[in-house]
Symmetry: C2
Subunit: 237 residues, 2 copies
Protein backbone atom coordinates (compact mmCIF):
# COMPACT_ATOMS: atom_id res chain seq x y z
CA UNK A 1 0.00 0.00 0.00
CA UNK A 2 2.75 2.43 0.93
CA UNK A 3 4.53 1.87 -2.38
CA UNK A 4 1.39 2.69 -4.23
CA UNK A 5 0.80 5.97 -2.37
CA UNK A 6 -1.90 8.10 -4.05
CA UNK A 7 -0.73 11.40 -5.61
CA UNK A 8 -2.72 13.69 -3.32
CA UNK A 9 -0.96 12.27 -0.25
CA UNK A 10 2.34 13.45 -1.70
CA UNK A 11 1.12 16.99 -2.14
CA UNK A 12 -0.25 17.55 1.36
CA UNK A 13 1.85 18.96 4.27
CA UNK A 14 4.32 16.62 5.97
CA UNK A 15 2.45 16.30 9.30
CA UNK A 16 -0.77 15.48 7.46
CA UNK A 17 0.93 13.06 5.10
CA UNK A 18 2.56 11.25 8.05
CA UNK A 19 -0.71 11.13 9.99
CA UNK A 20 -2.57 9.67 7.01
CA UNK A 21 0.18 7.13 6.32
CA UNK A 22 0.31 5.86 9.91
CA UNK A 23 -3.48 5.81 10.12
CA UNK A 24 -3.45 3.61 7.01
CA UNK A 25 -0.83 1.27 8.51
CA UNK A 26 -2.94 0.85 11.66
CA UNK A 27 -6.37 0.59 10.04
CA UNK A 28 -5.31 -1.86 7.35
CA UNK A 29 -3.70 -4.12 9.95
CA UNK A 30 -0.24 -3.98 8.32
CA UNK A 31 1.30 -4.83 11.71
CA UNK A 32 2.70 -7.94 13.41
CA UNK A 33 0.23 -10.11 15.32
CA UNK A 34 0.90 -8.34 18.63
CA UNK A 35 -0.16 -5.03 17.02
CA UNK A 36 3.12 -3.29 17.80
CA UNK A 37 3.95 -0.27 15.62
CA UNK A 38 7.48 0.36 14.34
CA UNK A 39 9.49 2.77 16.52
CA UNK A 40 9.32 6.53 15.93
CA UNK A 41 12.76 6.39 14.36
CA UNK A 42 11.74 3.60 11.97
CA UNK A 43 8.52 5.35 11.01
CA UNK A 44 10.39 8.60 10.34
CA UNK A 45 12.90 6.79 8.10
CA UNK A 46 10.25 4.74 6.31
CA UNK A 47 8.02 7.76 5.67
CA UNK A 48 10.97 10.09 4.92
CA UNK A 49 9.68 12.53 7.54
CA UNK A 50 10.90 14.30 10.68
CA UNK A 51 10.45 12.66 14.07
CA UNK A 52 8.40 15.63 15.27
CA UNK A 53 5.78 14.90 12.58
CA UNK A 54 5.74 11.23 13.54
CA UNK A 55 5.33 12.07 17.23
CA UNK A 56 2.48 14.47 16.46
CA UNK A 57 0.74 11.85 14.36
CA UNK A 58 1.07 9.26 17.13
CA UNK A 59 -0.31 11.76 19.68
CA UNK A 60 -3.33 12.33 17.45
CA UNK A 61 -3.97 8.63 16.89
CA UNK A 62 -3.59 7.97 20.62
CA UNK A 63 -6.12 10.71 21.41
CA UNK A 64 -8.49 9.09 18.90
CA UNK A 65 -8.11 5.77 20.71
CA UNK A 66 -6.65 4.00 17.65
CA UNK A 67 -3.30 3.27 19.30
CA UNK A 68 -1.91 3.19 22.84
CA UNK A 69 1.54 3.42 24.35
CA UNK A 70 2.90 1.01 26.88
CA UNK A 71 5.81 2.43 28.86
CA UNK A 72 9.04 0.70 27.94
CA UNK A 73 7.26 -1.63 25.50
CA UNK A 74 6.28 0.47 22.51
CA UNK A 75 3.15 1.64 20.73
CA UNK A 76 0.32 -0.75 19.90
CA UNK A 77 -2.77 -0.69 17.72
CA UNK A 78 -6.14 -0.84 19.43
CA UNK A 79 -7.16 -0.28 23.05
CA UNK A 80 -4.97 -1.10 26.05
CA UNK A 81 -6.08 -4.30 27.80
CA UNK A 82 -7.98 -3.63 31.01
CA UNK A 83 -5.60 -4.87 33.72
CA UNK A 84 -8.42 -4.97 36.31
CA UNK A 85 -10.21 -7.54 34.17
CA UNK A 86 -7.01 -9.55 33.70
CA UNK A 87 -6.30 -9.52 37.42
CA UNK A 88 -9.90 -10.52 38.22
CA UNK A 89 -9.66 -13.43 35.75
CA UNK A 90 -6.38 -14.54 37.28
CA UNK A 91 -7.59 -14.71 40.89
CA UNK A 92 -11.24 -15.73 40.24
CA UNK A 93 -10.51 -19.42 40.70
CA UNK A 94 -9.16 -18.77 44.22
CA UNK A 95 -12.29 -16.91 45.31
CA UNK A 96 -15.65 -18.35 46.41
CA UNK A 97 -18.93 -16.44 46.88
CA UNK A 98 -18.56 -16.26 50.67
CA UNK A 99 -15.04 -14.83 50.60
CA UNK A 100 -16.09 -12.31 47.96
CA UNK A 101 -18.92 -11.25 50.30
CA UNK A 102 -16.40 -11.02 53.15
CA UNK A 103 -14.28 -8.70 50.99
CA UNK A 104 -17.33 -6.52 50.23
CA UNK A 105 -17.98 -6.31 53.98
CA UNK A 106 -14.37 -5.14 54.43
CA UNK A 107 -14.47 -2.30 51.92
CA UNK A 108 -18.03 -1.14 51.18
CA UNK A 109 -18.78 0.35 54.63
CA UNK A 110 -15.57 2.42 54.28
CA UNK A 111 -16.67 3.47 50.77
CA UNK A 112 -20.11 4.51 52.08
CA UNK A 113 -18.34 6.61 54.75
CA UNK A 114 -16.19 8.42 52.14
CA UNK A 115 -19.23 8.78 49.88
CA UNK A 116 -21.20 10.52 52.64
CA UNK A 117 -18.33 12.96 53.14
CA UNK A 118 -17.98 13.79 49.42
CA UNK A 119 -21.40 13.42 47.79
CA UNK A 120 -22.86 16.48 46.04
CA UNK A 121 -26.62 17.08 45.83
CA UNK A 122 -26.49 15.71 42.25
CA UNK A 123 -24.77 12.57 43.49
CA UNK A 124 -27.49 11.96 46.08
CA UNK A 125 -30.19 12.50 43.45
CA UNK A 126 -28.47 9.90 41.25
CA UNK A 127 -28.34 7.40 44.12
CA UNK A 128 -32.08 7.89 44.79
CA UNK A 129 -32.82 7.28 41.11
CA UNK A 130 -30.82 4.02 41.14
CA UNK A 131 -32.57 2.84 44.34
CA UNK A 132 -35.93 3.55 42.66
CA UNK A 133 -34.92 1.59 39.56
CA UNK A 134 -33.82 -1.32 41.77
CA UNK A 135 -37.20 -1.21 43.52
CA UNK A 136 -39.21 -1.01 40.28
CA UNK A 137 -37.20 -3.69 38.44
CA UNK A 138 -39.15 -6.71 37.24
CA UNK A 139 -37.31 -9.98 37.75
CA UNK A 140 -34.11 -10.84 39.63
CA UNK A 141 -31.81 -10.14 36.68
CA UNK A 142 -32.93 -6.58 36.27
CA UNK A 143 -33.04 -5.92 40.03
CA UNK A 144 -29.49 -7.22 40.33
CA UNK A 145 -28.24 -4.92 37.57
CA UNK A 146 -29.70 -1.79 39.17
CA UNK A 147 -28.63 -2.90 42.63
CA UNK A 148 -25.07 -3.37 41.31
CA UNK A 149 -25.18 0.07 39.69
CA UNK A 150 -26.22 1.62 43.03
CA UNK A 151 -23.30 0.04 44.93
CA UNK A 152 -20.91 1.02 42.10
CA UNK A 153 -22.15 4.63 42.20
CA UNK A 154 -21.43 4.80 45.94
CA UNK A 155 -17.91 3.46 45.29
CA UNK A 156 -17.37 6.05 42.53
CA UNK A 157 -18.67 9.00 44.56
CA UNK A 158 -16.29 7.97 47.39
CA UNK A 159 -13.61 9.54 45.19
CA UNK A 160 -10.59 7.35 45.95
CA UNK A 161 -9.04 5.78 42.85
CA UNK A 162 -7.37 2.86 44.67
CA UNK A 163 -10.57 1.99 46.54
CA UNK A 164 -12.62 2.20 43.35
CA UNK A 165 -10.18 -0.21 41.70
CA UNK A 166 -10.43 -2.59 44.68
CA UNK A 167 -14.23 -2.38 44.46
CA UNK A 168 -14.15 -3.06 40.69
CA UNK A 169 -11.91 -6.04 41.21
CA UNK A 170 -14.29 -7.61 43.74
CA UNK A 171 -17.26 -6.72 41.52
CA UNK A 172 -15.74 -8.40 38.47
CA UNK A 173 -14.83 -11.56 40.34
CA UNK A 174 -18.22 -11.91 41.98
CA UNK A 175 -20.09 -11.28 38.70
CA UNK A 176 -18.52 -14.49 37.37
CA UNK A 177 -21.30 -16.57 35.81
CA UNK A 178 -20.92 -19.50 38.19
CA UNK A 179 -22.42 -17.62 41.10
CA UNK A 180 -25.39 -16.00 39.41
CA UNK A 181 -27.72 -18.84 40.31
CA UNK A 182 -26.71 -18.69 43.98
CA UNK A 183 -27.31 -14.95 44.07
CA UNK A 184 -30.66 -15.22 42.32
CA UNK A 185 -31.88 -17.80 44.81
CA UNK A 186 -31.05 -15.33 47.60
CA UNK A 187 -33.28 -12.67 45.94
CA UNK A 188 -36.99 -13.30 46.69
CA UNK A 189 -39.82 -10.72 46.83
CA UNK A 190 -39.42 -10.62 50.64
CA UNK A 191 -35.66 -10.13 50.63
CA UNK A 192 -36.00 -7.55 47.83
CA UNK A 193 -38.37 -5.40 49.91
CA UNK A 194 -35.96 -5.66 52.82
CA UNK A 195 -32.95 -4.72 50.67
CA UNK A 196 -34.86 -1.72 49.28
CA UNK A 197 -35.48 -0.44 52.82
CA UNK A 198 -31.78 -0.92 53.63
CA UNK A 199 -30.75 0.98 50.49
CA UNK A 200 -32.99 3.84 51.63
CA UNK A 201 -31.23 3.97 55.02
CA UNK A 202 -27.81 4.07 53.36
CA UNK A 203 -28.90 6.90 51.07
CA UNK A 204 -30.52 8.85 53.96
CA UNK A 205 -27.21 8.73 55.87
CA UNK A 206 -25.28 9.83 52.78
CA UNK A 207 -27.77 12.65 52.21
CA UNK A 208 -27.24 13.73 55.84
CA UNK A 209 -23.46 13.65 55.12
CA UNK A 210 -23.15 11.34 58.12
CA UNK A 211 -20.18 9.06 57.30
CA UNK A 212 -20.31 6.70 60.32
CA UNK A 213 -24.09 6.21 59.91
CA UNK A 214 -23.63 5.47 56.18
CA UNK A 215 -20.90 2.94 57.01
CA UNK A 216 -23.16 1.29 59.61
CA UNK A 217 -26.16 1.12 57.30
CA UNK A 218 -23.98 -0.41 54.57
CA UNK A 219 -22.53 -2.93 57.03
CA UNK A 220 -26.02 -4.03 58.14
CA UNK A 221 -27.13 -4.36 54.52
CA UNK A 222 -24.13 -6.49 53.56
CA UNK A 223 -24.52 -8.65 56.67
CA UNK A 224 -28.10 -9.37 55.60
CA UNK A 225 -26.88 -10.28 52.10
CA UNK A 226 -24.15 -12.44 53.66
CA UNK A 227 -26.68 -14.32 55.84
CA UNK A 228 -29.05 -14.91 52.94
CA UNK A 229 -26.22 -16.08 50.66
CA UNK A 230 -25.06 -18.52 53.35
CA UNK A 231 -28.60 -19.84 53.78
CA UNK A 232 -29.13 -20.27 50.05
CA UNK A 233 -25.83 -22.16 49.81
CA UNK A 234 -26.76 -24.45 52.72
CA UNK A 235 -30.19 -25.22 51.24
CA UNK A 236 -28.73 -26.70 48.07
CA UNK A 237 -25.07 -27.41 48.61
CA UNK B 1 19.68 -25.62 15.45
CA UNK B 2 16.82 -27.96 14.58
CA UNK B 3 18.43 -28.83 11.25
CA UNK B 4 21.61 -29.80 12.98
CA UNK B 5 19.92 -32.06 15.55
CA UNK B 6 22.44 -34.22 17.44
CA UNK B 7 22.28 -38.01 16.77
CA UNK B 8 21.33 -39.01 20.30
CA UNK B 9 18.16 -36.89 20.15
CA UNK B 10 16.99 -38.97 17.22
CA UNK B 11 17.41 -42.25 19.10
CA UNK B 12 15.49 -41.31 22.27
CA UNK B 13 11.71 -41.87 22.72
CA UNK B 14 9.36 -39.47 20.93
CA UNK B 15 8.04 -37.69 24.06
CA UNK B 16 11.61 -37.14 25.29
CA UNK B 17 12.82 -36.01 21.88
CA UNK B 18 9.93 -33.52 21.62
CA UNK B 19 10.51 -32.25 25.15
CA UNK B 20 14.21 -31.67 24.49
CA UNK B 21 13.54 -30.00 21.15
CA UNK B 22 10.96 -27.56 22.54
CA UNK B 23 13.16 -26.88 25.58
CA UNK B 24 15.95 -25.98 23.13
CA UNK B 25 13.66 -23.66 21.13
CA UNK B 26 12.65 -21.84 24.34
CA UNK B 27 16.05 -21.69 26.04
CA UNK B 28 17.94 -20.56 22.94
CA UNK B 29 15.43 -17.79 22.33
CA UNK B 30 14.48 -19.02 18.83
CA UNK B 31 11.14 -17.24 19.18
CA UNK B 32 9.60 -13.97 17.98
CA UNK B 33 10.10 -10.91 20.18
CA UNK B 34 6.81 -11.44 22.04
CA UNK B 35 8.04 -14.91 23.08
CA UNK B 36 5.06 -16.71 21.57
CA UNK B 37 5.60 -20.39 20.76
CA UNK B 38 4.26 -21.94 17.56
CA UNK B 39 0.87 -23.68 17.98
CA UNK B 40 0.69 -27.32 19.05
CA UNK B 41 -0.21 -28.28 15.50
CA UNK B 42 2.80 -26.41 14.07
CA UNK B 43 5.18 -27.90 16.63
CA UNK B 44 3.88 -31.40 15.90
CA UNK B 45 4.39 -30.93 12.15
CA UNK B 46 7.81 -29.29 12.55
CA UNK B 47 9.07 -31.96 14.94
CA UNK B 48 7.36 -34.83 13.04
CA UNK B 49 5.68 -35.93 16.26
CA UNK B 50 2.18 -36.60 17.60
CA UNK B 51 0.19 -33.80 19.24
CA UNK B 52 -0.04 -35.81 22.47
CA UNK B 53 3.78 -35.72 22.79
CA UNK B 54 3.78 -31.98 22.11
CA UNK B 55 1.06 -31.36 24.69
CA UNK B 56 2.93 -33.44 27.29
CA UNK B 57 6.14 -31.54 26.62
CA UNK B 58 4.32 -28.19 27.00
CA UNK B 59 2.74 -29.38 30.28
CA UNK B 60 6.19 -30.26 31.59
CA UNK B 61 7.75 -26.96 30.55
CA UNK B 62 4.81 -25.06 32.04
CA UNK B 63 5.23 -26.93 35.34
CA UNK B 64 8.93 -26.00 35.27
CA UNK B 65 7.97 -22.34 34.84
CA UNK B 66 9.74 -22.03 31.48
CA UNK B 67 6.56 -21.25 29.53
CA UNK B 68 3.04 -20.09 30.36
CA UNK B 69 -0.31 -20.29 28.59
CA UNK B 70 -2.58 -17.34 28.11
CA UNK B 71 -6.17 -18.35 27.42
CA UNK B 72 -7.13 -17.57 23.82
CA UNK B 73 -3.69 -16.05 23.08
CA UNK B 74 -1.23 -18.94 22.93
CA UNK B 75 1.82 -20.19 24.78
CA UNK B 76 4.68 -17.87 25.72
CA UNK B 77 8.24 -18.27 26.93
CA UNK B 78 9.04 -17.02 30.43
CA UNK B 79 6.81 -16.09 33.35
CA UNK B 80 3.33 -14.57 33.01
CA UNK B 81 3.33 -10.83 33.70
CA UNK B 82 2.03 -9.95 37.17
CA UNK B 83 -1.32 -8.23 36.50
CA UNK B 84 -1.30 -6.61 39.95
CA UNK B 85 1.91 -4.80 38.99
CA UNK B 86 0.46 -3.76 35.64
CA UNK B 87 -2.69 -2.45 37.26
CA UNK B 88 -0.67 -0.57 39.90
CA UNK B 89 1.46 1.02 37.16
CA UNK B 90 -1.65 2.04 35.24
CA UNK B 91 -3.38 3.84 38.10
CA UNK B 92 -0.28 5.16 39.94
CA UNK B 93 -0.43 8.54 38.21
CA UNK B 94 -3.99 9.10 39.52
CA UNK B 95 -2.98 8.44 43.13
CA UNK B 96 -1.24 10.79 45.58
CA UNK B 97 0.30 9.85 48.96
CA UNK B 98 -2.70 11.12 50.94
CA UNK B 99 -5.28 9.17 48.95
CA UNK B 100 -3.13 6.03 49.20
CA UNK B 101 -3.09 6.52 52.98
CA UNK B 102 -6.87 6.99 52.91
CA UNK B 103 -7.17 3.66 51.07
CA UNK B 104 -4.97 1.96 53.69
CA UNK B 105 -7.23 3.37 56.39
CA UNK B 106 -10.21 1.86 54.56
CA UNK B 107 -8.86 -1.68 54.30
CA UNK B 108 -6.13 -2.38 56.88
CA UNK B 109 -8.35 -2.22 59.99
CA UNK B 110 -10.65 -4.80 58.33
CA UNK B 111 -7.59 -6.93 57.50
CA UNK B 112 -6.38 -6.74 61.13
CA UNK B 113 -9.86 -7.87 62.24
CA UNK B 114 -9.77 -10.93 59.92
CA UNK B 115 -6.17 -11.59 60.93
CA UNK B 116 -7.12 -11.72 64.63
CA UNK B 117 -9.85 -14.22 63.85
CA UNK B 118 -7.60 -16.50 61.78
CA UNK B 119 -4.04 -16.22 63.13
CA UNK B 120 -2.36 -19.41 64.37
CA UNK B 121 0.23 -19.36 67.16
CA UNK B 122 2.95 -19.55 64.47
CA UNK B 123 1.47 -16.56 62.70
CA UNK B 124 1.56 -14.48 65.89
CA UNK B 125 5.18 -15.53 66.51
CA UNK B 126 6.05 -14.37 62.97
CA UNK B 127 4.35 -11.00 63.54
CA UNK B 128 6.31 -10.52 66.79
CA UNK B 129 9.55 -11.28 64.95
CA UNK B 130 8.76 -8.70 62.26
CA UNK B 131 7.89 -6.06 64.88
CA UNK B 132 11.24 -6.77 66.58
CA UNK B 133 13.11 -6.41 63.30
CA UNK B 134 11.32 -3.10 62.64
CA UNK B 135 12.32 -1.91 66.10
CA UNK B 136 15.96 -3.02 65.74
CA UNK B 137 16.41 -1.70 62.21
CA UNK B 138 19.14 0.90 61.69
CA UNK B 139 18.11 3.69 59.37
CA UNK B 140 14.76 4.65 57.83
CA UNK B 141 15.18 2.45 54.77
CA UNK B 142 15.58 -0.72 56.74
CA UNK B 143 12.85 0.19 59.25
CA UNK B 144 10.48 0.84 56.38
CA UNK B 145 11.19 -2.54 54.79
CA UNK B 146 10.47 -4.46 58.01
CA UNK B 147 7.47 -2.28 58.79
CA UNK B 148 6.10 -3.02 55.32
CA UNK B 149 6.70 -6.75 55.82
CA UNK B 150 4.74 -6.62 59.11
CA UNK B 151 1.70 -4.97 57.50
CA UNK B 152 1.92 -7.41 54.56
CA UNK B 153 2.04 -10.39 56.92
CA UNK B 154 -1.16 -9.20 58.65
CA UNK B 155 -2.83 -8.89 55.22
CA UNK B 156 -1.70 -12.40 54.28
CA UNK B 157 -2.79 -14.02 57.55
CA UNK B 158 -6.24 -12.39 57.08
CA UNK B 159 -6.76 -15.15 54.52
CA UNK B 160 -8.96 -13.45 51.94
CA UNK B 161 -7.51 -13.53 48.41
CA UNK B 162 -9.42 -10.49 47.11
CA UNK B 163 -8.43 -8.38 50.13
CA UNK B 164 -4.80 -9.48 49.83
CA UNK B 165 -4.85 -8.40 46.19
CA UNK B 166 -6.38 -5.04 47.13
CA UNK B 167 -3.69 -4.62 49.80
CA UNK B 168 -0.92 -5.54 47.32
CA UNK B 169 -2.28 -3.04 44.82
CA UNK B 170 -2.19 -0.20 47.36
CA UNK B 171 1.24 -1.33 48.55
CA UNK B 172 2.69 -1.31 45.03
CA UNK B 173 1.32 2.11 44.21
CA UNK B 174 2.52 3.67 47.44
CA UNK B 175 6.01 2.17 47.13
CA UNK B 176 6.46 4.26 43.97
CA UNK B 177 9.84 5.99 44.24
CA UNK B 178 8.42 9.52 44.17
CA UNK B 179 7.01 9.25 47.65
CA UNK B 180 9.95 7.68 49.44
CA UNK B 181 11.38 10.99 50.48
CA UNK B 182 8.07 12.13 51.94
CA UNK B 183 7.73 8.90 53.90
CA UNK B 184 11.29 9.08 55.17
CA UNK B 185 10.82 12.59 56.45
CA UNK B 186 7.82 11.31 58.45
CA UNK B 187 10.03 8.68 60.14
CA UNK B 188 12.11 10.22 62.97
CA UNK B 189 13.45 8.45 66.10
CA UNK B 190 10.45 9.80 68.05
CA UNK B 191 7.82 8.67 65.54
CA UNK B 192 9.59 5.31 65.20
CA UNK B 193 9.32 4.62 68.95
CA UNK B 194 5.65 5.58 68.82
CA UNK B 195 4.97 3.34 65.79
CA UNK B 196 6.72 0.44 67.54
CA UNK B 197 4.39 0.79 70.53
CA UNK B 198 1.39 0.89 68.19
CA UNK B 199 2.60 -2.25 66.40
CA UNK B 200 2.78 -3.98 69.80
CA UNK B 201 -0.84 -3.06 70.53
CA UNK B 202 -1.99 -4.43 67.17
CA UNK B 203 -0.15 -7.69 67.77
CA UNK B 204 -1.46 -8.00 71.36
CA UNK B 205 -5.03 -7.73 70.07
CA UNK B 206 -4.32 -10.28 67.33
CA UNK B 207 -2.73 -12.60 69.92
CA UNK B 208 -5.88 -12.23 72.07
CA UNK B 209 -7.92 -13.13 68.93
CA UNK B 210 -9.86 -9.91 69.50
CA UNK B 211 -10.89 -8.74 66.00
CA UNK B 212 -12.51 -5.39 66.90
CA UNK B 213 -9.57 -4.43 69.17
CA UNK B 214 -7.09 -5.32 66.40
CA UNK B 215 -9.08 -3.22 63.91
CA UNK B 216 -9.12 -0.29 66.37
CA UNK B 217 -5.40 -0.51 67.11
CA UNK B 218 -4.65 -0.62 63.37
CA UNK B 219 -6.94 2.35 62.75
CA UNK B 220 -5.18 4.43 65.44
CA UNK B 221 -1.77 3.48 64.02
CA UNK B 222 -2.74 4.48 60.48
CA UNK B 223 -4.31 7.72 61.69
CA UNK B 224 -0.98 8.61 63.34
CA UNK B 225 0.86 7.81 60.08
CA UNK B 226 -1.71 9.88 58.18
CA UNK B 227 -1.23 12.89 60.50
CA UNK B 228 2.57 12.69 60.27
CA UNK B 229 2.47 12.35 56.49
CA UNK B 230 0.20 15.38 56.22
CA UNK B 231 2.54 17.39 58.47
CA UNK B 232 5.64 16.37 56.52
CA UNK B 233 3.92 17.40 53.30
CA UNK B 234 2.89 20.77 54.72
CA UNK B 235 6.40 21.50 56.02
CA UNK B 236 7.95 21.30 52.55
CA UNK B 237 5.21 21.56 49.98
Amino acid sequence: MLHNRPRDLQETSEPNRVLQAIRQIVSEGLLPSDGRLPTERHLAAELEAGRASVRRALDTLEAEGLIWRKQGKGTFAGQPPDPTEELAAQIASDVDPLSAMEARLCIEPALADLCARRATADDVARLRKLAERTHDAEGSDSAELWDGALHRAIARIAGNRLMLTAFTLIDEVRMGDDWQEKRHRARTPETRAFYDAQHQKIIEAIDARNGPAAANAMRKHLETLFDNLRKSMEDRP
